[in-house]
Assembly symmetry: none
Homo-oligomer: 202 residues x 4
Amino acid sequence: MGGTGAGGARRGRRYDPERRTRILDAALDVIAEHGTAGTTHRTIAARADVPLGSVTYHFASLADLLAQAFARYVELQSATFEKLFEDVATPEQFVEVVVDLVCGGPARHRSAVLGFELHLAALRDPGLRVLTQAWTWQSRAVLARFTGPDTAARLDALLEGMIMHALLAAEPESREATRAAIVQTLGPAHLEGDRHARARGI
Amino acid sequence: MGGTGAGGARRGRRYDPERRTRILDAALDVIAEHGTAGTTHRTIAARADVPLGSVTYHFASLADLLAQAFARYVELQSATFEKLFEDVATPEQFVEVVVDLVCGGPARHRSAVLGFELHLAALRDPGLRVLTQAWTWQSRAVLARFTGPDTAARLDALLEGMIMHALLAAEPESREATRAAIVQTLGPAHLEGDRHARARGI
Amino acid sequence: MGGTGAGGARRGRRYDPERRTRILDAALDVIAEHGTAGTTHRTIAARADVPLGSVTYHFASLADLLAQAFARYVELQSATFEKLFEDVATPEQFVEVVVDLVCGGPARHRSAVLGFELHLAALRDPGLRVLTQAWTWQSRAVLARFTGPDTAARLDALLEGMIMHALLAAEPESREATRAAIVQTLGPAHLEGDRHARARGI
Amino acid sequence: MGGTGAGGARRGRRYDPERRTRILDAALDVIAEHGTAGTTHRTIAARADVPLGSVTYHFASLADLLAQAFARYVELQSATFEKLFEDVATPEQFVEVVVDLVCGGPARHRSAVLGFELHLAALRDPGLRVLTQAWTWQSRAVLARFTGPDTAARLDALLEGMIMHALLAAEPESREATRAAIVQTLGPAHLEGDRHARARGI
DNA sequence: TATGAATGAGCATTCATTCAT
DNA sequence: GATGAATGAATGCTCATTCAT
């Protein structure tokens, strides 16, 4: 009916300091589920369990909201990425974490889809490229600590392609094949440890 | 406005046997320009210079039209891809053609964008995955003639990622860096010719 | 796609002298099923297993087609009505036939619905009133042979209302209640036979 | 044309608390005039002198709007019907009021047409039958106060048929003929007063 | 500050009808 | 004669955004 939208105990939610954040997270959920195109004020409001007016009140426009949602995604994702490699001590561990990144099933589905949605959106809206570029740099920087800058760039691209293929493939690639591709890209020197030693030295 | 839509001498254009194809090509243009989300019956009709009713007459739904447009894209793109490698005789030529693929500026922009739009669309609509899978297999098959199947799969993923990065990068990667990444993925044996010789033997 | 509509062995159906009639009958089917409003050239064509162009070719307009279909309905229905009472010899038989008319389950559903659709259509389109009036006169004439003209008119109206209620009622009225209402409307003299004897004398 | 739709000083009409009701009444006007089939969001909006978006804002779908309009009709009509018989004290008055119901010219035209439109609509949409059934029960209850339940049901059906015939007839039936039919259906006892006396006793 | 009523632009889709073949 | 491609006008509906409260 007329815009009532989400039901539930919304009464008394005034003074909700985290409302903005909650809307952004809801927006990311909706984007992951319905695509950027299927993301509307109304869907977001319903997902966040917030009145429609609240969404338009806190964000100047839908484009603005999406941009901020993607910014939040990059921020959260970067932190997650960073943390993934925090405890990596050996080249073998590094490879395993990277393999997990590609093979990591439905757990990583949401973030992978969001990543591609962001890339596509940035293709159309140059204003979003600061986000994709920041994200790329940050990813490469993390990887570079273990591989050096050139290999990091290559690995980053390879991962991008492999993750997309993994999302679309009828049946998942085997971990072994994935590992082989990664190891090959890292180059023969990687597992000999010297490069890794240098990385730890940084 | 008001239904007349596209201008031009459209009177008497009846019985246009290639209209369907023209609409599909127009749809691909529009997708490349405005994204799948921005692709509407009206935009397509204007681009194809046909009345709105003509677009809905020839295709049962917009989703159907998009699916057929993407199918046409895969078909055309596969043929183009095939032809690109037709005259490749040496490993060096192979590498150059692949580097062109990544660096190939605005000329390749349209088809690259369309490829990613298709990937994203397939992520949302499983019915489109027959297209992405067919396309992936075909690409790998072409590459595999020069690299063997495993390396082909890796190279394919790497190219996917590099092309996306190239599309989004503020300034294009140098051809040298691109070539280095590719050569590294092909493996040291590639340029020594034996692998290529084997490929030619197939 | 695009208007092909009905499938099947339509090839070679040229020179189909009954096509007009078949289209009209299909139209009546569609009206009964989807209502006058839901009746389109395309639905009719599909139902009649005839190309779309054939429907517009044989009838100047949809309104014209509907008018002719309703005319056919009145014609067929009048004949059926006539025949229903053909073998009625006693007042008791007369009452039973009339009760059947009201209680006659799904068998009579189609014709009853069509009757009301025609009434409603005639309310909007005065051109159709020649049909409803002819139908009313004919029905009354048949009934009057057993009841006299005044009672026939009353009975006709009563039947109209009872049939509509029967169509809409959650559970059907009992035959007994229906019979009682009819008998009461016929008047006490009816079953005494003298009136009926007079009717047979006509 | 082009979205502006109805003319008039509509600027500043915001916050119109009775808008919903006004739209429903406009819908009933339109149904009476153009039939359920000819009732569109746009016609209703024009009739209610509200923008198109307002109609779709307040009602989830056109079917929903029509259902609510018909519900309002039944409600209003039931009240009117009730009031018609409020001051009836004698059997003679009762008969006159009922005769008025059938013969009541253009004044009753709108409500009669709406009644039949509702019946037809309920034939197609079972969801509307709660309305027709409620309406039937209520009508019978009012009549039964003067006639007893069985006669009330018969009279209700007779009235339904007579009103439809009156709407479609080229020239109106005479009051006398109408009265005769009603009196005959009420049965000989009615005007003798005993039945009515019983009714008053309730 | 927060909200939901309000609105105009736009969209996918249907369809009666026209017309070249 | 018959057909199906073609078309423009409508239709139901969605939605970003504005704004009175």
